[in-house]
Symmetry: C2
Subunit: 316 residues, 2 copies
């Protein structure tokens, strides 16, 4: 049993109660606790030394990343973050000044987004540092955007550029809170999530929960400069388009909207958020899974689809 | 710098916002998110293999303990738990059935207390399992009981019995939710917290935040059978009264109430919760720190005070 199969089994029969609007399986849980105009968003996310950062990572960036990942999930629901608890599990030989600098990164980002840090705990994890962030946010009733709302014919959009995040972006990205709130208040967005495991890994969450498929246009993928540079400088590296699909840790917004709104949305976006890119990368179709259209035709993106990249030019 | 000094430094300048009623430093954070009659309680707590449980601990009990610790903190505010997120960091060689049994323990306790499990995540912690639980609860506005409300002359109470928890109770204790809610709705409780680090370690939190001292009566300490048995069977073990003060992981309620209510409270408690013990163990006094009264006089409970136990009989 792999991790995804395990999660599927664990989440099949979780206890619930009347407050639960959306439980496990979306970017945040959504709860109705009786706030007249709002619902509550509830999210937790952990970063682990050696996996999400290294012993060389500047501590401020570790703190930034730990909180930013959670904020990105609140953004993906079109929500507003409110308060966070920080759990830091520390090796036995931790240096206090290092932990203070981790908090500098957390506090600085929190302040920028009006988030209160209301406690947490320090505990021991002898071999490596682990930081788990719990976040509460709010969203106007009915304004939360789920993964499950994609409809056949929707245009698929992604903010920013994809791939190559490990070159630096994964440590200092800014969660797309303002962008997501603007999207939700100006256009009838059908589905949204943030990209943490790569477009090819994450889009299936929208497709599965919405019971639809997707056709992506390879030439429309916004490939980050870092992904292109790596592909060009190293013949053993992933082709750039494959990096954009699979590198992960992009923390951009992926969303779908009825195609009739696509042009107006792109125009309005440019006025509001330029130079941040917004790309229409494909459409929602009947069926399941992701297909990728390139000059040679349409390829199902699975084991065979990825193999197709191996034969493609690195510039993608 | 030790852990407590570090926490003091970290929590001195945390970002805040208008929703924060009580931030870091109490059993839970208290937030006002606009629910007409209620405030929100927000808490996170982690258990780590090798520290809070061992590789021999039955997985259901690990899950039970992980959630029960958080529920105990909501109880300490006289709150009602609502929804939890579960973060499990797993060693590389984890067994799926083990994790499923951890969840059995979590789910069973959650169901008994009406708590919804609304998601979380699994991540990797190569050397040992770590479980972090995030909990949301609610409390009627103005009904939350803080650590900071103790007043000179208050009687100090503790539920249940103290010490020897490692013999088993720390893995299967039932959080005192019903008891705390009953206390808060029937008596003007001034301060309350749950006991996790031992009476001698935890009571100072109430004293410091309330700017008062305490005088405990050694003969009134409710010593658990497991603490007595260990003291009697092993001459190298702590004296039983010292175990009751310092063993930790009791997860009982510690609270103070004006002494004029003490007798009525004890009577009403017996009718409601017998056979669960409730003990009046001392009083709040002017000054700072804990003093312990025994047959030989009153001793300040610090390095010297603990030393006093070494010379006392183990039966305490």
């Amino acid at each position: 049993m792999n991790e995804f199969e395990l999660i599927a089994r664990l989440t099949k029969s979780l206890p619930t109660n009347a407050s639960v609007v959306t439980g496990a399986g979306d970017d945040c849980a959504v709860l109705d606790l009786g706030i007249p105009e709002e619902l509550i968003l509830f999210k937790t996310d952990a970063v682990v030394e050696g996996i999400h950062f290294t012993s060389e990572t500047p501590p401020q960036k570790i703190g930034h990343k730990a909180l930013a990942r959670c904020l990105s999930d609140v953004a993906a629901m079109a929500g507003t973050p409110g308060a966070a608890l920080i759990t830091i599990a520390l090796p036995k030989d931790f240096e206090a000044t290092f932990v203070e600098k981790v908090y500098e990164g957390i506090n600085s980002l929190a302040q920028r987004h009006g988030v209160a840090i209301v406690g947490g705990e320090t505990t021991t994890n002898p071999e490596r540092m682990l930081i788990s962030v719990s976040l509460l946010g709010t969203v106007a009733r009915g304004r939360q955007i789920l993964r499950s709302g994609a409809k056949i014919g929707d245009a698929i959009f992604v903010t920013g550029e994809l791939g190559g995040s490990l070159a630096g972006k994964h440590l200092d990205f800014e969660p797309r809170l303002a962008e997501a709130q603007w999207l939700a208040s100006h256009f009838p967005i059908h589905s949204m999530m943030d990209l943490s495991d790569g477009l090819a890994g994450d889009l299936p969450h929208i497709l599965n929960r919405s019971q639809v498929g997707a056709e992506l246009l390879k030439s429309a993928l916004p490939i980050a400069r870092d992904a292109k540079l790596r592909a060009e400088s190293n013949s053993a590296a992933k082709p750039a388009a494959l990096a954009a699909l699979t590198d992960g840790e992009d923390f951009e917004l992926l969303f779908t909207v009825a195609s009739k709104h696509a042009v107006a949305l792109l125009d309005a976006w440019k006025k509001q958020f330029s130079p941040l890119k917004l790309s229409c990368i494909g459409k929602i179709v009947a069926g399941t899974g992701i297909s990728l259209r390139d000059k040679s035709g349409v390829h199902k993106l699975n084991a065979g689809g990825y193999a197709h990249f191996a034969g493609s030019t690195k510039a993608g």
